[in-house]
């Protein structure tokens, strides 16, 4: 039974994603798209923050790099299927270049360095208008077509996003369950011990940061055709903070944490809209309450509930094995 639970849950989740937009208006489908896209970016940030334990405030700038590269390439007639990997590669390379010096500092200092980088990217996008269109941004990117399947309709684009989302998460699943994932966990739990066991912590952290950045680039490559209009303001620091919030609210270090977190950060404001002026207060209040009572995020809440309702066996090895060892 246990063996089938995960595949069953995954199938149910995918089915829910397929059914969700049916019969909904364009706006809701658009919101669902942006939830999935932000989930991809937050999943990347989760690798950096949740698995490798590094605070980055630059994820939105990697989305920007991905979005602008995709926009510029597709505007010049290159197909999205080529523009997307270019965006990811560019973000991976920029992640390496930024991470190499930046990851020598950790914790709050790394947060400041990445914050500065986010601001730098924002300024470049705003001021280099010969390339980026400055404050007016870039408009008119066409949505990609794949032979008979054209994504210009909102619903079609949604299914296209679901497919990319599924592939992106499968890729992350692969990384996290590989020996790399184990090394990431070891690094987070006790970096000094990990290093003494031969884990090249510096290189591994750098790779986590670069892969996380590439996921930001992928998300950006989807934002460009979704909105069909990008401008620097969409990738300002506040969006990096929102991505950080998604990871933390959902549960840093849990695989599906960022997906859940993105749902809360993007969908909750829509749900609370009926309260009109109060929704921001309610929203902020619930986030604070969550962080105070369950710092491991929503997935952590679930874990606690499960522990309370269906207590697991807790080993007291010293009692169970007696004096032998």
């Amino acid at each position: 039974m246990r063996r089938y639970r995960t595949p069953l849950l995954l199938a149910l989740g995918l089915a829910a994603l397929i059914v969700a937009p049916i019969g909904q208006g364009n706006y809701i489908v658009y919101t669902l798209c942006s939830w999935l896209i932000f989930s991809i970016a937050a999943t990347g940030l989760n690798l950096t923050l949740g698995y490798a334990g590094q605070i980055s405030l630059a994820q939105a700038s990697f989305m920007a790099i991905g979005a602008y590269i995709t926009a510029l390439m597709t505007l010049n007639g290159v197909h999205w299927l080529l523009a997307m990997p270019c965006s990811m590669l560019a973000c991976f390379a920029v992640g390496l270049a930024l991470g190499f010096p930046a990851l020598r500092v950790q914790g709050h200092f790394l947060a400041f360095v990445t914050l500065a980088f986010n601001t730098l990217v924002f300024l470049v996008l705003r001021n280099e208008d010969w390339l980026t269109g400055g404050v007016y941004g870039l408009v008119g990117m066409e949505r990609p077509g794949f032979g008979l399947f054209d994504t210009s309709k909102q619903l079609h684009f949604y299914y296209f996003t679901v497919a990319v989302f599924a592939v992106a998460l499968a890729g992350m699943w692969w990384i996290v369950r590989s020996p790399w994932g184990r090394a990431f966990k070891a690094l987070r739990e006790n970096p000094i011990r990990a290093e003494s066991l031969g884990v090249d912590t510096r290189r591994l952290t750098l790779l986590a940061f670069a892969i996380g950045s590439a996921y930001g680039g992928l998300a950006g490559a989807l934002v460009a055709p979704l909105v069909q209009f990008i401008e620097p303001g969409s990738f300002a620091l506040v969006h990096s903070l929102r991505l950080l919030l998604m990871v933390v609210v959902g549960g840093a270090g849990f695989f599906f944490g960022p997906v859940l977190g993105a749902a809360v950060v993007i969908l909750l404001p829509e749900v609370l809209r009926f309260t009109e002026g109060y929704y921001l207060i309610l929203y902020a209040g619930s986030v604070i309450v969550l962080m105070v009572f369950c710092p491991t995020g929503l997935i952590g809440v679930y874990g606690r509930l499960r522990q309370r309702l269906f207590p697991q066996r807790v080993v007291r090895g010293d009692m169970a094995t007696g004096p032998q060892l």
Partner: protein, 255 residues
Amino acid sequence: MNAPAMNALPPVLTVRNLSKSFGAIRAVRDVSFDVRRGEILGLIGPNGSGKSTLFNCILGQLAPDGGAVAVNGRPISGSRASTLNKLGVGRTFQQLSVFPDMTVLDNIIVAGQEHHGSMLSRLFGPPDAGLTEEAERLIEFFRLGHLAHEKAGSLSYGQQKLLDAAMAFMAGPGLVLLDEPAGGVNLTMLGSLKERLLTYNAEHGTTFVVIEHNMEFVMSLCSRIIVLAEGAIIAEGSPEEIRADQRVIDAYLGG
């Protein structure tokens, strides 16, 4: 391998004129010694005698002010801990250093996986890096088999100490430095730990350097003992010789 042939090989660990000061305090003064292949060397001394500083200088956690350290004749001064580990040096820590949120099996696998294949092959290869069997054998050897799938953090202190030691062995090191392996471990478990270490040493010929406070443990585990006091070596010899050495007795009694 018989004893004379062993002695013909270069020492596993060579420490030459190692010194380290913290301000006016000379924690380690001009310490030199060799560790021969396959031996279990004990490093003892009263509190503040410089054992831990010496250990940290050897392992590259602290930069010594002077002197040199070599493993199998290869200088290792200034090497990072991960590089040292790849050269076949395993270690344990004074404080518990297991990964509490990972299973016992994963703790052991992570201790060996970086020695198998390249960074890329570890990403695309099997999730356990093909090490499950080997890890299970080691876990079984340290009598933790029934706990293989439990979180390391849920084990008793003594069991975690044992796991901590087991992790140092996973990569098949030629030299293992144990930092107070007996600290806080109860008597029965201490006996098992000693017995397992002796068996491992006999079976694999692995060289050990042990820092320890527990005299009985050191005396019965080690084949040779070096005594430090105020940062310098004051005595060296077999457990029997050390037990009878007046300088050692004085140092411990604060004479």
